[in-house]
Symmetry: C2
Subunit: 414 residues, 2 copies
């Protein structure tokens, strides 16, 4: 079964927005074991949209359209798809009720006549409720065995709708279900990680193994086709075990939604420990990332951004001598920053980062990209030197991930 | 003249990467005054790629292909395009020399026979040097008046190549040049900003005005067609003046590459002032954003992340009474945080943020999304209450931009 994506919206053609929906849908479709050979984007233009839908249906079994379901005259996805499928638009009482309730919920009296346009559906279409907006999703199965799935454009509407209703629908269409597990690895480079599983990737049939490179991490998706979840798990588990054999405790989670920072917050909670941060070149990004985790306040009370030497001395107790002898960007300073931060915050663990993010400030001995991480855990300090080769933004992003990775390595040894 | 984009790469079809190249190219093409009605993505598959190129050439004057120029057998863009244009591939001595020099420069002895494949070009094609990789760009002008432009996939290669060589090439093809200026506005909502220029947008011919909504900002691009830059500027300047008349000092820059945080760092430098930050729910993101600016160390020495009440008291001197009476998320606490941070860091200005980012921690009186910003400048404190309606990530991002905006408003009054 082949699926094809059409993103509808002039804002995509003008480059006003990055089309993250296409990447989201493409990944989910691949996970479902469906083949996708084409993606396209067209504007809010009736003729070109119709051409795009007809072309897609001529070469794929299912076409998923995103966007163009809004209340304005510009929004044509429903009208054009109905035309291609030769269906009339009829008012759907259930959707009309939901739109009314939605506007009541957000205390808005702004239901214009336009909004009722969203209650019109192609005759015979299946309505998929939108829990985050007014445009429902629609599934339109043609007599020719071809299907169109219409989804709203806003990411916060399309994502939950796809997960909750569209993915199960697509799964039911297939003779066998698709089940997958994510294995997330840190503390290892992308190419090295892929080399370590090259033999598995070459030999894979069912389950399959797909690597996704992330900044400082590699995620492996293990996917099995099977008649039910139990059978799938029996296929998936041995490969996950094999990955554990190869990557050991570099695997920080096998849960889809767990991030590296969430795994670390969990480790800290388990051990009843608190953590703090002292940042120079990352300037708050490390703390900001840790605080992505809802409930991080259990393990994090306070942190320090110490850009100047005097703030490193005053807030963290780094010695003037160390700064003079080794410089602010040094393993010695990183170590004293971590130890000092733990003391100042009365925390069990502390991460420090000091480096030269660029583009200026580099020298021959200490070039742009040189970063030191200090990690204090229960009285002991470890330091690491990194040499990043990106621009300012990339160097800072990598510094954050590497620092988190070092802390995790120390915590799992406890 | 119409342009069409084809992104080549199985990693796009699998959703392994977000197609930021398409957004980049689309925006640049729009700025150049060219029309783009189609974007598509295909994998590294000869037949489907050929179909895509033929379809694109049948309906557009210029097709820009990105990706698939690498050294491996998978990379087919050049081969397929040459086939469609009925051209042989021939070795280009200049490119061969450059590839050799590139590998010498990165001290790599890994020039495999594969790499020489990148020196092959379709007969008659114009070579565009790649200063950041080995795959050159190629411009192939067919006898039928149709043109294919082949660009490498990595963003750090395609972007400089497009700016330096492809944009001027496209501009030369047109009877008149295209020139533009970016006007960036803050302190105003997107829909309100667009309403304020609706009359201009309706009446626009030359120059044109295009709005781009960013988190907490609106950017307007003013674009003129003219025979030379001077004539273009004579068209652009009156519209920029008109925008100043309407938005006044809400315009923070008319420079393409200046960010809001960079504009603020500039304001602080001009006034010889330093700034600090005290963050609760944003947990370092505000400082991290300020520190995006290379050279921010001139105006920023240290900052505080104060998640717990005790850290607000100890590091910032927020009074126990205030925390008890009004709570940690209150205008009163935000004010004391800002004042205390300025004092602790001995800074002329300070920003504080305290709020409920979600998803937990909300109540009826203080729901998720409630954020207070405190802004201390030269002895005076201003506080602002915001009610954001996004998820944790969005609420924190908006809190950061709103805080920066408040600081800017105070600084420009000095």
């Amino acid at each position: 079964m082949t699926v094809e994506l059409i993103s509808v919206g002039t804002e995509i053609l003008l480059g006003n927005i990055v089309n993250t929906n296409a990447a989201f849908l493409a990944e989910r479709i691949a996970v479902l074991g469906l083949s996708c050979y084409h993606q396209s984007a067209v504007g809010d233009n009736e003729e070109r949209l119709e051409d795009a839908v007809r072309l897609a249906l001529s070469r794929s079994d299912i076409v998923i359209l995103s966007g163009g379901l809004g209340p304005t005259k510009d929004d044509l996805t429903k009208e054009v798809t109905a035309k291609v499928f030769e269906k009339k638009l009829v008012e759907d009482a259930h959707t009309k009720k939901r739109i009314k309730a939605y506007f009541e919920r957000i205390h808005s009296n702004e239901v214009t006549s336009n909004n009722w346009k969203q209650a019109l559906i192609p005759e015979g279409a299946t309505v998929v409720d939108n829990h985050n907006g007014t445009a429902p999703g629609l599934i339109l199965e043609g007599e020719n065995g071809k299907t169109a799935i219409l989804l709203p454009g806003p990411p916060n509407e399309i994502k939950p709708m796809f997960e909750q209703d569209i993915a199960p629908y697509l799964n039911r269409l297939q003779p066998e279900g698709i089940y997958s597990k994510m294995v997330k690895v840190c503390s290892i480079g992308e190419s090295r990680a892929e080399t370590m599983v090259a033999d598995i990737m070459d030999a894979q049939t069912n389950p399959t193994l797909a690597p996704y490179a992330k900044t400082g991490e590699v995620h492996f998706r293990v996917t099995a086709k099977a008649k039910d979840e139990e059978t799938a798990n029996a296929l998936i588990e041995p490969m996950v075990k094999e990955l554990y054999k190869r990557f050991g405790n570099k695997i920080y989670t096998t849960e889809e939604e767990v991030t590296l920072e969430a795994a670390i917050v969990e480790l800290l909670k388990d051990r009843g420990m608190t953590v703090t941060t002292a940042e120079s070149c990352t300037g708050g990004l490390l703390a900001g990332r840790m605080m992505n985790v809802a409930g991080a306040s259990c393990v994090y009370n306070e942190g320090y951004i110490t850009y100047s030497n005097s703030s490193k001395e005053r807030l963290l107790g780094v010695s003037e001598e160390t700064l003079k002898k080794y410089g602010a960007v040094s393993a010695e300073t990183a170590a004293e920053m971590a130890r000092g931060a733990a003391k100042a915050a009365d925390a069990d663990a502390a991460l420090s980062v000091t480096g030269i993010a660029g583009p200026d400030g580099g020298s021959k001995e200490k070039p742009v990209g040189l970063v030191y991480v200090g990690c204090y855990v229960n009285g002991k300090v470890r330091t690491e030197e990194f040499m990043f080769t990106g621009n300012r933004e990339k160097n800072r992003d990598y510094a954050v991930v590497r620092a988190l990775t070092v802390l995790r390595e120390e915590l799992i040894c406890l």
